[in-house]
């Protein structure tokens, strides 16, 4: 690498990501709702992708990006599961006959203006 300060640059970028991680971590601990925690988790996931990418460059092994790709590809599955879980209280969802009778929560009347 021609650039003499590459390591320093990567390191400070990693440091910045770790700072962001700490902020997200704080949010995940504070809550208050579970959804804030999930939000923090998602954010944390992206930061991990970035950290891994940078770590690969720091160690001169950029092929570690495969890991980052894994996260980028399948990280949102968990959130989809959360969506399913929140809406139906089950991952099996409403199409299953056994769930239809009583599991699906009632919808309240939303006041229309």
């Amino acid at each position: 690498m021609d650039f003499p300060y590459a390591t320093e640059v990567f390191f400070s970028a990693a440091l910045g990501i770790v700072v962001t991680m700490s902020l997200a971590l704080l949010r995940s601990i504070l809550g208050p709702s579970t959804y804030d925690r999930i939000l923090a988790l998602n954010s944390f996931g992206t930061k991990t992708v970035l950290l891994i990418a940078i770590a690969g460059f720091l160690d001169g092994r950029p092929e570690w990006l495969d890991l980052a790709i894994v996260y980028a590809l399948i990280n949102f599955i968990g959130t989809l599961a959360v969506l399913r879980f929140s809406k139906y209280g089950s991952l099996a969802a409403a199409t299953q006959p056994s769930d239809d009778e009583e599991e699906v929560p009632e919808r309240p009347s939303l006041e229309q203006p």
Partner: protein, 362 residues
């Protein structure tokens, strides 16, 4: 060594998350924080250059574990009942921690080049694996060949877990061979219809996930990855499909019987390679015996097949676990106290009203 401060910070984070998870009563939230725990460990493993381990952590932590946690919570309850703090448990945990702390006293310093681990078998692996096996990724050489029998055992562990889940959790109806009713396309409609964005993106991502799984499977010889990680990613694709189109839709593609067979087939493939080595004149799992004139060729073939077996079993077991969890009818739980965030099924859930502002104002 430049990453040392980063590692230290991540370790502190890990500790904090651990404590918070322990204290949290809401298991839904705790499950989410466990996700952060897994991200942190994956980051740490990467910084410690244990990339294959990090890869596993990434594949499991990102895709599967949250889904399984939620599936479990859906079957039970998402808030821990009030219980007395068990001083015994705290005592045991503290004692264990203390013991581990003392255990580090006579440990060789971190990164010490004279440490025994750098002079024992590890050194042999690093120095000779290229000549003996000829794969760039030493981790794969160790896991699939030098200690291939351990990996066989681990595969058996995964298989055992699959068997255990099937034995314990499969609902009676499924056991008795009651064919799952094929879902009429019509009734699948609300499932699909309600999340158009999610559906669209899932459609885009699915082929890439599957493709990437195959890449990880094949590329494990050269870089981080291998059968286990590939299996998990592959299963993640199925689970994604199930989350968006419903588990029944997945059963249309991968019927439970086929998965059960896949579970067994992977182990048989791995063991079969070992037994084939016996017949070729070597010992169990001695791949070199396949091509005595050129041992590393046999090694390559053996490792390829063995990793394939791992991938098949792991992905089948993961999907089976997902099926079994989602297919179980939810047990009736006693009513809960008011207060904490109510469980989803008892809450009034306002369906997302999709309306244009115009209509809203009228």
């Amino acid at each position: 060594m430049t990453e040392l401060p980063l590692e230290a910070v991540l370790f502190v984070f890990l500790l904090v998350v651990g404590i918070v998870v322990g204290r949290l009563r809401n298991l839904f939230g705790a499950a989410m924080l466990t996700g952060i725990f897994s991200f942190l460990s994956a980051g740490l493993f990467t910084l410690l250059t244990a990339v294959d381990v990090a890869f596993t952590e990434a594949a499991v932590g990102a895709g599967i574990s949250t889904v399984l946690f939620l599936a479990t919570l859906a079957l039970t309850d998402d808030t821990e009942r009030e219980s007395e703090r068990s001083w015994l448990a705290i005592g045991v945990v503290s004692l264990t921690g203390l013991a581990l702390f003392f255990g580090t006293f006579d440990m060789p310093a971190f990164g010490d080049p004279d440490a025994p681990i750098h002079h024992g078998v590890g050194r042999h692996y690093l120095m000779h694996s290229w000549d003996e096996i000829g794969l760039p990724n030493v981790v794969t050489s160790v896991l699939a060949s030098y200690r291939g029998y351990d990996t066989f055992g681990e595969l058996a562990v995964v298989f055992t877990a699959g068997i255990g889940v099937l034995l314990l959790l499969r609902s009676k109806a499924a056991v008795m061979g009651a064919k799952a009713k094929p879902i009429p396309v019509r009734s699948r409609a609300p499932y699909v219809r309600e999340m158009p964005i999610v559906r669209a993106v899932a459609k885009v991502m699915l082929p890439f996930i599957l493709l990437f799984a195959l890449y990880v499977q094949a590329h494990g010889d050269f870089g981080p990855g291998g059968g286990f990680q590939a299996g998990v990613v592959f299963a993640a694709a199925f689970i994604l499909y199930g989350l968006v189109w419903g588990p029944r839709a997945v059963q249309g593609i991968a019927p439970e019987r086929m998965l059960e067979g896949g579970m067994a087939f992977g182990v048989l493939l791995y063991g079969g390679v070992g037994v084939a080595a016996l017949f070729a004149g070597g010992t169990f799992l001695d791949y070199s015996a396949f091509t005595p004139e050129h041992p590393s060729h046999g090694q390559h073939w053996g490792i390829f097949l063995v990793e394939l077996g791992v991938g098949i079993t792991v992905s089948a077991v993961m999907v089976v676990i997902y099926f079994v969890f989602t297919a179980r009818p939810r047990p009736r739980l006693p009513k809960r106290k008011k207060g904490a965030l109510a469980p989803p099924r008892l809450t009034a859930v306002p369906e997302l009203p999709v309306e244009t502002p115009k209509e809203g104002s009228s």
